[in-house]
Subunit: 489 residues, 2 copies
């Protein structure tokens, strides 16, 4: 047991499943499957790569419980998908102690014309079918050798739309009453439990906040968590936003639910503070504990480092830590943290190339990976990159920015990128502010009247870091800020 992250590497038991650590890969779109929905080699490679990194729990990307048309999306809607799914589970289990759970989804129809089916259009028979499809899919997952099942109740999809404060159904499945909005999601949980038995872990993922006008917030998501736990759910995983209501419509394309503000809140980009959605997990967990329920809560949303993860666990703010983009950037993060090699982690910088690729219907890769690589690179090399001169780093100060550029480092294998470290006001405390794969960077948040210092560390594919480069000092004098305004006549 390492001293640095004692809580993070405590095994954690959820019903009949014991995770080797408290790190969770939440379901993340890859666009690696074909439109046929079968598991293919790319999908297999992606998830085996995560298993190799030893994350405690892998939640495989959403797979449809029904056969409706969509883009590339895994399916679990009939028996024909079971061989591929069985093979995937087995290969993951063969790789490491990581546990694996599929996320199952139902979504409504959508058209390029802008029309989309809504939950208000569903008949009781439609609802009954959806509930049964969840049950059948969960049973298949168990039969395929998965360790549990996760019901997708988040973002813009069917069960989430029932939970939503925008659910406008006039009957007992919607309207202003939270109990009515909970009904169909709870029916799905009940049906799934009936099909998989008491000992099979069932998780649910829903929104801590909808992040749209008139949407629900933690005041209601905490009650949703309570009802889910009372209904026998084994874990609660929280997301945020990702709704149709504020999606940006592109001419001739189907509306995509992560393109508006609520999409930013779902996958907070670099502009957001770390752990931005943590208050949602805290609110749900507090509500559960107040009612004497120990159901674990998974926190997600720009939790970037094992240090932050450990701190969250130590302070009892969540039970498990979800990391999607951070594990995409470096699937070996868990293993590196476990063996004390956390300095070798390739740090996600949340510039959301992955999100942009998804939104433009491309296969999802990380912008920090070597160009053309479909999966995170791997190397057991231990030799770090070296600088090729004593002062590779140069600076150009403009009125509104600090531009850094540098002479490339060398490596026995390949330099993968450069970390930019900065200190403010002469402090000795340098902080990693960004990473790039090129050899220049512009700091647009350096402001006049303050003193900055910068250095770089080059890193290779294994994450070995070079020694710091030369340190550059920059003073931005106040008088640069307010020039005499020259008025052009």
């Amino acid at each position: 047991m390492p001293h640095a992250f004692p809580k993070l590497f405590e095994p954690f038991t959820i019903n009949s499943m014991t995770l080797p650590n408290r790190l969770v890969l939440p379901a993340m779109v890859t666009r690696l499957s074909g439109e046929d929905g079968f598991v293919n080699q790319d999908i297999t490679d992606r998830y085996v790569r995560f298993a190799k990194g030893e994350v405690g729990l892998i939640v495989v990307e959403a797979m449809a419980v029904h056969s409706a048309k969509s883009g590339p999306l895994l399916r679990i809607c009939d028996e024909s998908f079971k061989p591929g799914l069985t093979d995937l589970a087995r290969k993951i289990h063969d790789t490491s102690p990581s546990k694996v759970i599929p996320q199952i989804i139902h979504f409504l129809k959508i058209a390029r014309s802008g029309w989309r089916q809504k939950i208000e259009d569903l008949s009781p028979a439609d609802i009954k079918l959806i509930v049964e499809q969840y049950g059948q899919a969960a049973l298949r997952a168990r039969e395929c050798g998965y360790d549990g099942i996760e019901l997708h109740m988040a973002h813009a999809y069917t069960l989430s739309s029932f939970l939503s404060k925008k659910n406008k159904r006039p009957d007992d499945f919607g309207g202003k009453s939270l109990q009515h909005r909970l009904r169909v999601p709870l029916m799905a949980v009940s049906e799934v439990r009936k099909m998989v038995g008491d000992e099979f872990p069932i998780g649910v993922r829903f929104l801590g906040e909808e992040c749209i006008k008139g949407g629900y917030t933690t005041a209601e998501s905490a009650i949703i968590a309570l009802r889910m736990a009372q209904a026998g759910v084994d874990y609660i995983s929280l997301s945020a936003g990702g709704k149709f209501e504020d999606a940006i419509h592109k001419e001739g394309e189907v509306l995509y639910p992560y393109t508006g503000y609520s999409g930013d809140r779902c996958m907070p980009p670099m502009e957001y503070p770390d752990g931005y959605n943590l208050h949602m997990a805290e609110a749900a967990r507090a509500q559960l504990r107040k009612h004497g329920l120990n159901t674990p809560v998974i926190a997600t949303g720009k939790i970037s480092t094992p240090e932050l993860a450990e701190e969250i666990l130590q302070n009892d703010r969540a039970d498990l830590i979800g990391m999607a983009r951070a594990l995409l950037a470096d699937p070996d993060l868990p293993k590196k943290a476990r063996v004390g090699d956390e300095e070798k982690i390739v740090k996600c910088i949340y510039w959301n190339i992955c999100k942009a690729l998804d939104e433009t219907f491309h296969q999802v890769v990380c912008g920090l990976w070597p160009k053309a690589d479909l999966h995170a690179p791997y190397s057991e090399d231990t030799v770090p990159p070296i600088w090729q001169s004593a002062d590779p780093l140069k600076v150009l100060v403009r009125t509104g920015s600090v531009r850094l550029n540098w002479q490339k480092a060398a490596d026995n294998e390949a330099v993968m990128g450069y970390e930019i470290w900065r200190s403010e006001d002469g402090g000795a405390q340098f902080r990693h502010i960004y990473s790039v794969t090129v050899s220049m960077y512009t700091d647009n948040l350096a402001v006049a009247g303050n003193h900055y210092q910068y250095y770089l560390r080059a890193y290779d594919i294994a994450g070995n870091k070079s020694a710091p480069s030369n340190i550059i000092s920059v003073d931005l004098p106040v008088d640069v800020v307010i020039p005499e305004l020259t008025v052009v006549p």
Copy 2:
């Protein structure tokens, strides 16, 4: 000095101004002025009423530094407005120790066609003029006897648009560089300081978060706070959202910037937890203190009670507490808290009738006030309402809600409303969940599987509360939640 709120009632000095307590009325639209922009009787009555309640600092609603056309809006754009403004300041000062500061605003043109002028359209000469107009307006405020000046840099207006991450100017007044985005706002601060002298308090109000896609967050607002403080600003007041970018356009009307999600974040409605925007004040304050600056920070956003205000101050999360809607509901909140009568406070319930009135271009009143009243009622009566029977409260439990109705209470003057108190799971801890002016209420957040208790307290115009009504117990059994689904063939 009362024991309940020792910190809240500590006097607080900002440059040459000493506030009697740490409660601040942030600038709030009233729509009480005429389109001519002169102070009138309604405006005077509104602000004198706040002074009577003894709030530490009154920030008078935004007044324009220029003469552009708009709806009802105060003006400070030429000498003709000084007599009215002088009279207003004098009457406020004559009423109580409250201090008073006008908020000054510049906004760009907007048309019913949907067209709106943008900061990208402004020439250097336009910018110079705006900066000078801020200086002139601030000087007028000082000459009119105000205790300081606040520059409006929040929401959808000119200076905020410069600070915004959506500022697309290609020159040194915008673009990606935060320093360039800060330039015009800092020029305005510098010009104002030049005009009013070193000892006149200057405050700025800007957004802690823009709450729109691609908008800035605390990562940048903390730096904005730092630069403002370094530029000699005397206090920082934070708001959130209220942008044009996500405003909902109504056919034939000019776009109004509080109608989208960012409008909810500006004035968080009842669905939001108390103190929802507090992290913004904390981030700004931490940045200032890290740089050795003691500039005070005003936190705002659904800070509903003196208890929460005191807790925020005790925990050093902010220096001053802004309450807009809570003081609209009961301008006497500060005085009641000071003398130990906090139980008599008429509690804002954040149903945002005030916000809806503003958005539909009506005079802003509180939905809890007696119908037809233009200002908060006042009474020195001390006799509380009484119930007219032993069990006035009745309940009707439906599958999705708990409906309460009751026999009205009686009062020697007039019953103003009813507080609804609820406990969960048999706990003795009842919590005020809502207030109404009618005699019925539906609880849409009561869910099956849980046990609830309710009672009422009637209150009169002075805020005297009746004894609790009879307690109603409600059990919502779990089996109500998941009925056998009847499929209509």
